[in-house]
């Protein structure tokens, strides 16, 4: 929890040193994991495998970026996974069912995400619903709508074979384009978070919402903007997952929100708000996919993979708490 008594100086300290520390720890953990798996498994240390890890990180990484903004404000968004699904379905409706070109379908999918995000924001900022409840409700609404709109059947992007190539093609270095899309989105997200007014208020909301309000900031509006931005990222993730599956699958997406939150938390974003970074989140997303793929290559049974990934999340949060306690 944010301590309202904490001085401005300590808060600045928290933003700079503490946050950076967690990021370094996360990066260290990622490096250790990569070295460890590379050492014990020759197939792991192949370019093809590193490419697989990059591709496997893309969707979760992008979802996690949006979630990072929300968590920094002290909120949570449980609806990103199913919002992503709904966006893919919207893409399917515009492109496959209505036969419109991709350049209309892609923005439509992202707009759908931003729209649901805005609804979340309105529920939280204006109707004063707790973020957990508002977005939990939205999780189900988005899931239901995705199923209604798709008639609970997958929509295949049959008329648009180029869609797969746009995102999964490898014109550069043999790396599929989704990876560059993820890094591009990360750069934009990083700049927005660290160099714009929106970013500044994102941190301000999470550090001390009341103080921000009292200093004359229209808190509600910025909060809505943050949730809308999160929805926009979910829309982008929806496009990528649609490209990978060459279809919109109305039943896929549930559970993705938890991986996204885990990535943000492992990367040092504090669930009590006011702290976090896109760099950390990307590292967190890489840790999750490296673990999943590494453990599978080494041949660890599925049930143990679950235990290990769970322990990593617990460990990351525990470290975060220890760090705070030491600082206090």
């Amino acid at each position: 929890m944010t301590t309202p008594t904490a001085s401005y100086r300590s808060r600045v300290q928290a933003l700079v040193t503490g946050d950076a520390l967690q990021r370094i720890l996360a990066l260290g953990a990622l490096v250790v994991l990569l070295l460890f798996f590379s050492a014990i498994s020759p197939p792991f240390r192949t370019t093809d495998n590193f490419t697989s890890i990059l591709v496997a990180t893309a969707v979760n990484g992008i979802l996690a970026m949006g979630v990072t903004f929300v968590i920094i404000t002290g909120g949570i968004d449980l609806s990103v996974g199913t919002t992503m699904t709904l966006c893919t379905v919207v893409l399917g409706l515009t492109v496959t069912k209505a036969g419109l070109p991709l350049w209309i379908g892609l923005p439509a999918a992202m707009a759908a995400g931003a729209f649901l995000g805005t609804l979340n924001g309105l529920l939280i900022a204006k109707a004063k619903l707790p973020p957990f409840i508002a977005t939990l409700g939205m999780l189900n609404v988005a899931r239901g709508l995705a199923q209604i709109l798709s008639d609970v059947k997958p929509i295949y992007f049959e008329g648009n074979p180029e869609f797969y190539d746009v995102f999964m093609g490898k014109p550069l270095l043999g790396i599929p384009n989704v990876v560059f899309v993820m890094f591009g989105a990360a750069v934009i997200a990083h700049v927005v978070l660290t160099r714009t007014v929106l970013g500044r208020y994102t941190f301000a909301l999470g550090s001390n919402e009341e103080a921000t309000r009292l200093s004359g900031v229209n808190v509600d509006r910025w909060k809505i903007a943050v949730y809308a931005l999160c929805g926009l990222f979910a829309g982008l993730a929806g496009i990528l997952i649609g490209a990978r599956m060459t279809s919109a699958q109305p039943s896929v997406g549930l559970g993705y929100e938890l991986d996204a939150i885990a990535a943000a938390v492992i990367g040092g974003t504090s669930l009590s708000g006011g702290e976090g970074s896109i760099v950390g989140t990307i590292i967190g997303a890489f840790i999750i996919s490296t673990l999943t793929i590494g453990l599978s290559i080494v041949g660890v049974p599925d049930q143990w993979k679950l235990v290990i990934t769970g322990l990593v999340v617990i460990g990351a949060v525990w470290l975060d708490i220890l760090r705070r306690r030491n600082r206090a």
Binding site: T46, S52, A56, R244, Q303
Partner: protein, 325 residues
């Protein structure tokens, strides 16, 4: 403002009433109280997967043909044992003439099934069935035999030796374990030169399954074949082959159908797949329930069969009848 709060509450209450009314209106049958048509409550393992929709279609058509009223419902995912129990309880409360039930967890459903028995409501098990002596019969696919067939076909395709891997949806459900074991055991018994090097669980998610399949290929560059044990897993295998450019180099065998598998089989990327007979499961469920209501004795199990389909027979009428897109 108490006034606006009152209007808000009133509006919310009205919205709920309208929604409930609208949903209630679409449900068929009103319990065993009125009408001459027998009412059969079907509680399935799912409602969203196309396989379950095909079962529903078979059941609905059969009910229409034979003059029965049915309701069909199932939980959103195959791990929601508790939700399924609530559905079974609700079905019992409606006093049906018979119940068709595909248990997610037979033991957990035990007390409710006993209640059905006490109320003299015949229970017909279907799909994975119900592991108890209460059901009058079980309508299902022999998953062990079907997955064994997949193993035999795989052996034939890769020359009866080499490494293969299995991508399964989960290791807790009956279909997941029987298909895995049916495949793996057949390999051990009849094809000793084939090694099953990995069994991975991808939750039936085509993207997660693809990532796992890629990891398996990374660990075993000389892998000769994949068996995807349900539709989502098979899609994952196809996605993985596409992403690694190993289409037509690694043999892919799937399960059930759906557009992507059908296309892949037609184009040759997937060697073939096992299909159950979901429409037949639904239809036989309803006819078995009607027989039970009429007091007829039924065999312990009703096998609805499975088919191996590939490029050569996919367009045949008997296969087309059981495939769904």
């Amino acid at each position: 403002m108490p006034r606006s709060r009152f209007y808000g509450a009133a509006a919310a209450a009205m919205a709920v009433a309208v929604l409930v009314g609208a949903c209630g209106g679409s449900a068929t049958g009103s319990g065993g109280t009125g009408g001459t048509k027998p009412y059969i409550a079907i509680v399935s393992k799912g409602s969203q997967h196309q396989f379950w929709q095909a079962v529903q279609k078979g059941a609905t058509d059969e009910a229409t043909a034979k003059g029965a009223t049915i309701t069909y419902e199932g939980p959103a995912s195959e791990s929601e044992v508790d939700k399924q129990l609530t559905m079974l309880q609700t079905a019992l409360d409606k006093k049906p003439a018979a119940i068709c039930f595909a248990a997610l967890d037979s033991k957990a459903a035990g007390p409710l099934l006993q209640k059905a028995k006490d109320a003299k409501v015949p229970v017909v098990g279907f799909d994975s069935g119900v592991d108890s002596d209460i059901p009058v019969t079980t309508v299902s696919t022999d998953n062990i035999a079907a997955a064994g067939e997949a193993a035999d076909q795989m052996a034939k395709l890769i020359g009866d030796s080499g490494k293969v891997a299995v991508i399964v949806h989960d290791q807790t459900s009956q279909t997941g374990t029987t298909r895995r074991d049916g495949f793996v055991n057949r390999m051990k018994e009849k094809h000793p030169n084939i090694q099953v090097v990995a069994v991975e669980y991808g939750a039936g998610d085509p993207v997660k399954s693809a990532d796992l399949a890629k990891a398996v290929m990374t660990a075993n560059p000389d892998l000769k074949g994949f068996f995807g044990a349900n539709e989502g897993s098979a899609k994952g295998v196809l996605n993985a082959l596409k992403e690694t450019g190993k289409e037509n180099k690694v043999v892919a065998i799937g399960y059930d159908s759906g557009q992507q598998q059908i296309d892949a089989i037609k184009s040759g990327v997937m060697a073939g797949a096992i299909t159950q007979n979901p429409v037949g499961i639904g239809a036989k469920c309803v006819s078995a329930a009607l027989d039970a209501i009429a007091g007829k004795t039924l065999p312990k199990t009703i096998d609805t069969g499975y088919y191996w389909y590939d490029k050569t027979n996919i367009d045949k009428a008997e296969i087309q009848a059981v495939l769904y897109k």
